[in-house]
């Protein structure tokens, strides 16, 4: 026996338009979530790295004196390592400002000591400066954590904005689906009336619309998710292939949580569509006997 024809007719142009809208909203939601997560992950990694670092600037001394200063710093409590930056390291560090040709001759540059502190009870910049000053060096130590805190603050704002965008997009998707369901219900009022008068319970009629919109939401959400993944990959790959310093750019890292976002978005879209459809149909049916 052949499969019975669905009681609701196959999808029409209105549903194609709704599919596009839901897919676009899911695309934006996933893109916002992946971008926010990528940015946060990159910034978190960067913060964790720089929070355990400080730089010592030495003036009025030569390379030998700098090595002595580095040795003094190494001897302090809360210091894991300290080393004088070589000319190559300095050139690499300042390449974004001076280009690949390195620092031009004649530009006065301080000697820099890169210091890594321990994770437990790290030494403070003031203690390092004081120790070197006591030893007769013209030195200033600066903790990188000072810069990181400003970045963290900016990232916190970015994170809240990203969550807000995702919530707004979700609410918009639900409202659009509810509106579309209502339109579909009006367009198929004849079918609903016949089912209703044939003795179909509200639950039965609602389930027809719920199934239809669950499938639509799931498919549209999957399409949106996949396109967002492709676009994110394209942005990151193009940034990497252009040789851009992308430590703070969103990273495409298909780890567990990225996969969860990609998998949950279509399910969420499907559930939102189903919920909106069910609510709309039930509300509409309650208005008739």
């Amino acid at each position: 026996m052949s499969k019975p024809t669905p009681l609701l007719p196959e999808s029409d142009a209105r549903e194609a338009a709704l599919f596009f809208v839901v897919a676009a909203l899911c695309f934006l939601a996933v893109l916002a979530t992946l971008t926010a997560r990528g940015t946060y992950t990159a910034a978190h990694a960067w913060s964790a790295q720089v929070e355990g670092e400080m730089t010592v600037r030495l003036k009025d001394t030569d390379r030998r004196g700098a090595e002595d200063a580095a040795s003094i710093v190494r001897g302090l409590d809360g210091i894991r390592s300290s080393s004088v930056l070589s000319q190559e390291e300095l050139n690499r560090l300042l390449a974004p400002s001076f280009g690949p040709g390195g620092i031009p001759a004649g530009v006065p540059m301080p000697i820099l000591i890169a210091v890594e502190t321990t994770q437990d009870a790290p030494a403070e910049a003031g203690v390092v400066t004081a120790a070197l000053t006591d030893a007769g060096f013209n030195a200033t130590a600066e903790s990188h954590a000072d810069y990181a805190s400003e970045v963290q603050r900016a990232l916190g704002t970015l994170r809240i904005a990203a969550i807000g965008i995702v919530v707004l997009l979700t609410a918009t998707a639900i409202a659009v689906i509810a509106f579309a369901t209502h339109a579909a219900l009006l367009a198929r009022r004849d079918i609903v009336d016949v089912l209703h008068l044939a003795g179909a319970e509200d639950r039965f009629i609602a389930s027809l619309f719920e199934r239809r919109f669950w499938t639509l939401g799931l498919k549209a959400g999957s399409a949106g998710s996949l396109v967002a993944l492709a676009v994110t990959a394209m942005i990151v790959f193009s940034a990497q292939s252009a040789g851009t310093q992308s430590q703070l750019l969103p990273q495409l890292s298909l780890d567990f949580w990225d996969l969860v976002i990609l998998a949950v978005t279509p399910v969420g879209a499907g559930l939102a569509a189903r919920w909106a459809a069910g609510g709309t149909v039930n509300h509409s049916l309650k208005s008739v006997l």
Binding site: T5, D190, V194, A198, G199, D202, V288, L289
Partner: protein, 237 residues
């Protein structure tokens, strides 16, 4: 008060007490209707266009609630029923709509089996029954056809088959011969009479066709400007 009581014995299949109906802003479409129909009666409903026939039928097949008064079906006060109970009650009523209300995307077979499908029955359990009924109404060869490929008369018979598939206790037909030739009209009426006699189904038929009313000689209710009156001329003895 305007009263019409074709029969007063036993628990009535249909009972309306002081029923009025008004749509939104207009005047009453039906006014203070009292009506009792015994189970197994065959009754015609007639009246001029706009007299309120379709509105009265809508109250009976539970498409609308009255503005005033009470509708009782099979002893149940409909205003006291839950939505679930109303759905169950609708399954005891077969309706032949004037405009058929067939679902265009379903085949003839699927349209007829619709009331069984919505009540949760599986296709395997009712296939034979639906095929038999389609043969009975002369559509045995058209069961896989879509409604738009059927003639007006075939659609009418399909609509009747859908109303009958549940073996309803109450059959309501709104101008069931409006789209068929006189011969087919008589055939359809004979089908209703047979159903009424064989299964004891209570039947209410709204029609303009006075020749059929005369030929089938059943009690007649007449609506005039929303009031229910007895049509003595065609009332059986």
């Amino acid at each position: 008060m305007n009263r019409f009581r074709p029969d007063t014995a036993d628990e009535p299949a249909v009972e309306l007490n002081g029923v009025s109906l008004r749509y939104d802003t207009a005047d009453d479409v039906l006014s203070d209707i009292d009506l009792r129909l015994k189970p197994g009666t065959f009754t015609f409903l007639t009246g001029a266009s706009g007299a309120g026939k379709s509105s009265l039928l809508k109250l009976l097949y539970l498409a609308h609630a009255p503005t005033q008064g009470e509708v009782h079906l099979f002893g149940l006060r409909t205003s006291a029923l839950s939505r679930k109970q109303l759905s169950a009650l609708r399954r005891r009523i077969g309706v032949v709509f004037q405009d058929f209300r067939l679902l265009d995307h379903l085949t003839a077979f699927e349209n007829v089996s619709l009331p069984l499908r919505v009540s949760g029955q599986k296709p395997g359990t009712y296939r034979e029954e639906v095929v038999d009924l389609l043969r009975w109404v002369g559509l045995g060869e058209r069961m896989h056809a879509l409604p738009q490929s059927l003639s007006g008369g075939e659609q009418q018979r399909l609509s009747i088959a859908r109303a009958l598939i549940n073996k309803p206790d109450l059959l309501i037909a709104d101008e069931p011969t409006g789209n068929v030739d006189p011969e087919m009209g008589k055939r359809i009426f004979r089908l209703f009479v047979e159903l009424n006699r064989r299964l004891g189904t209570t039947i209410i038929i709204a029609t303009h066709d006075l020749s059929l009313i005369r030929e089938f000689d059943a009690p007649v209710m007449r609506l005039q400007h929303g009031l229910l009156v007895r049509d003595v001329e065609h009332q059986s003895a």
